[in-house]
Symmetry: C2
Subunit: 212 residues, 2 copies
């Protein structure tokens, strides 16, 4: 071992991930975090210097692996396709599946990380936006390029719009699945991630391919 993160640091990251996802950024105090992590209050400032730095570290821990997984999957599909453009469904799968696999693995953040992402988009905190934008910049470029190849009849800006729509359909569906659960009277849930992936890919692929 030796390479692994300090136990205290890890406990703080896990506790803050859970609590911030449950109560939001501002409403989660360092005292609540350190208490849940069974560490001393000053441990946060010792290991992360400041609360903002802790939040950034908490996000970075999950962000990079997620986007790497998406890009790796897209790479794989592009290699499988050879010279032909990748099917729209495959591009969407590369974009969506890593998030659903994250949800299924509570040890890797699970649903909590999705709530953090939603908070990042909604909360206009100055230090969060750049982090998200920089982290997602390459991902957006790669997926936009792949879609343009697969949908050559669409203009550049049209692909931008539709990719945005597709991302919104999926992200909203999984991040705010509670809303669907309630409005459907509990008949629609996020338990069976495989069927959700099939459904949302089917929906978005039709939208992407729709004639202008």
């Amino acid at each position: 071992m030796g390479e692994s993160i300090h136990a205290t640091k890890l406990a703080i990251l896990n506790a803050s991930e859970r609590l911030v996802a449950a109560h939001g950024f501002g409403a989660t105090s360092l005292r609540a975090i350190t208490s849940a992590a069974n560490v001393n209050l000053a441990a946060v400032n010792y290991h992360f210097a400041t609360k903002d730095a802790l939040i950034v570290a908490m996000l970075n821990r999950r962000m990079k692996p997620l986007n790497d997984a998406r890009l790796d999957l897209l790479d794989k599909f592009e290699k499988d396709a050879g010279d032909a453009p990748v099917a729209v469904e495959k591009i969407l799968e590369a974009l969506f599946r890593p998030i659903l696999e994250l949800i299924a693995r509570p040890a890797k953040g699970g649903r909590n990380f999705l709530r953090l992402l939603a908070l990042c988009l909604a909360e206009p905190g100055a230090f969060l936006k750049p982090l998200v934008q920089k982290e997602f910049a390459e991902k957006n470029r790669r997926f936009h390029r792949a879609l343009r190849r697969s949908l050559p009849e669409l203009s550049d800006v049209e692909v931008h719009w539709r990719l945005h729509f597709a991302h919104g359909a999926f992200f909203h569906a999984v991040a705010h699945s509670r809303v669907l659960e309630l409005s459907s009277g509990g008949r629609c849930r996020l338990t069976n991630c495989g069927s959700v992936l099939e459904r949302v890919i089917n929906f978005c692929a039709a939208g992407l391919r729709s004639p202008a």
Copy 2:
């Protein structure tokens, strides 16, 4: 007049709407609000009793008119259609257009209200969720029923899922249009709301109508 809201109350509502949309719930202090509204600090507690009550009032001011406009539009389209089911595009228009018209009218909240809605969904504040859910319950029922009539080949739960996807595609697109602006290098903007409405309706209608 006399019927209209107190000037101080209105100044507080306007200032809090702007500041909360810009900085989030927790990060917006009553001192910042009252200072921006040019009223005394204690005016908030005098007119709204508490900060939480102010936020609820701030949301209620925009929420009801928005959903009423959507339901009115759906009513109109249903009357126009007579006994036939309403076209999917019309149902989506009834769902989306009132929000875009809100955006175009800064005096009625404009883009700020959208950010508040996104915050409501993301921030797990206990007092916000019920407000949104209760307010949107009837709207969801009405639009689900209309869609089922127009898409009789889809099952009940399938319509729930696809309506959720459609709402996500639109809401994410308009609430987080900044993300699209950046990832498209400024080529995609939310200025021309008409073209956005056309685009998102086209996308979602294709998704809704897609064979299972």
